[in-house]
Subunit: 252 residues, 2 copies
DNA sequence: GGCCGTCGAACTGCATGCAATTGAGGCGCT
DNA sequence: AGCGCCTCAATTGCATGCAGTTCGACGGCC
């Protein structure tokens, strides 16, 4: 509906931007799981562009921390460690507190309407797939950030929110985020009321509860597969090599 | 001295990384002023690589907000608006409060030594060029962030610090940041002492004072040239065109 | 003299080609 | 059967070439 063509910067042409957006979305909807391979050829073919462009897009996404690039290796969707996930949430909390601090009491009527409409959409999607719910929940926060009119803040909040989303698919059990919709409504209400302190603490506890519900301890059994579990034991120094393991069948 | 090869991610090969680091440094030392042109050819030639690589590097820097990319146009060093500068500082304050909160009372002896050595270097550079002083001051903060061992936090703090650095060359009068060295020492002391609240407020006021010393109001006369002054009046929508002005001699 | 239109050089957007590296399967050896 | 080596297809790293666009300058016209 809204003609939100989003980020004006960092998008050399727009083909790159299209691919980035598509991949971001696929990643946060968990159509692409962490660790999924992203060969340049395939991407290029899929989007009707050459490898050059696909490569460029991967570079951008790597800069955002959504994909991992290793020299001469196929790019893969990032697999953040549990600690990184925690860090991302900590940063996110601070950034979003900043967002609501700037927004408290300053929302226009149409902005409030837009926010409410979004939460309604979240409500409606409750029966649908988890993926959509998660995406909408994330987009609520990005929508909020957008209203600050601070491009930098928007960029950082978006990035870190996407990263958090990514970690959710790694470490959370299903259906863990739906109950947060009420908290979104509460935040809107507090924003309208203009109570800065209140809305900041609401946002804080909202994110904190999402984080603690989602990030269920380092859970030995929760990792994707053997390789992930062993990762911390094979600290990869700047050129280090993972210890050779006898016969590991990589989970496809 | 320290074998700090820095960011492992987001660097496809390393030629790209080399170019990025070089340009970042040139930018924050103000060898490249905001608005400076960065043609792909020249960069490629300068660094002994093809345009492809130079282009990729520019893409990365654009993602960090240090350069501006516009379709079919020569890339230029970013020229943040005054408002963006303010926003960047606000974000920076929150992020660095997070840094020192995590670090308070947790520094090892060698880390403290490293910090002190750095501030000593800042002291020594006081007689040298402004550019070096500014770079060192910025690097102090990045050094601090590094000690959190949180790659994400490091990345964000670095980025936003570079951006702030960039704005300093636009909006600040010369010699405005040197007196901050004592504040760096105070922060180290408070970190060692482990007083979380104290160090957070120290960092807050440190950055706040740098910002307010530096960002001297929108100052009609302080902008680079006429075009910058007029920029806010010619909001560029996603494909909008700046209003045609009769005969503007662009300050070289 | 100043303004406008036209032209050319410069630059970007993108695809493709070639060399180098990887990792995966097959083969032989123990 | 298991383990290691070796070879080859798959994939990346990078440069170059071509087409389209922009910017600046020159020259004509008012």
């Amino acid at each position: 509906m809204a003609p939100r063509s989003a980020s004006k910067s960092a998008v050399p042409s727009d083909k790159v931007g299209v691919i980035c957006r598509a991949l971001r979305r696929a990643i946060i909807e968990q159509a692409l799981e962490p660790g999924a391979k992203l060969p340049e050829d395939s991407l290029g073919e899929r989007f009707g562009v050459s490898r050059t462009i696909a490569r460029h897009a991967l570079g951008q996404l790597a800069a955002e921390g959504l994909v991992e690039l290793r020299r001469n290796r196929i790019a893969v969707v990032a697999t953040p460690s549990w600690q990184e996930a925690r860090d991302a949430f900590d940063i996110r909390i601070e950034l979003e507190r900043l967002v609501v601090r700037q927004l408290a009491g300053k929302l226009t009527k149409s902005q409030v309407a837009e926010l409410n409409a979004h939460v309604d959409a979240e409500d409606r999607a409750r029966d649908g797939s988890d993926a959509v719910s998660i995406r909408l929940a994330t987009e609520f926060h990005i929508l909020l950030a957008n209203m600050t009119n601070s491009p930098i803040l928007v960029r950082y909040v978006s990035e870190v929110a996407y990263r958090c989303c990514l970690t959710l698919s790694l470490y959370s059990r299903p259906h863990s985020s739906e109950c947060a919709i009420n908290e979104h409504r509460a935040i809107i209400a507090a924003l309208v009321k203009g109570d800065e302190a209140k809305v900041m603490s609401l946002m804080h506890s909202h994110l904190d509860s999402v984080a603690s519900r989602a990030l269920v301890a380092p859970a030995p059994q929760r990792g994707r597969d053997l390789l992930d579990i062993l990762a911390p034991y094979a600290e990869e120094g700047d050129g280090g090599r993972v210890v050779k393991l006898p016969k590991v069948v990589r989970a496809r």
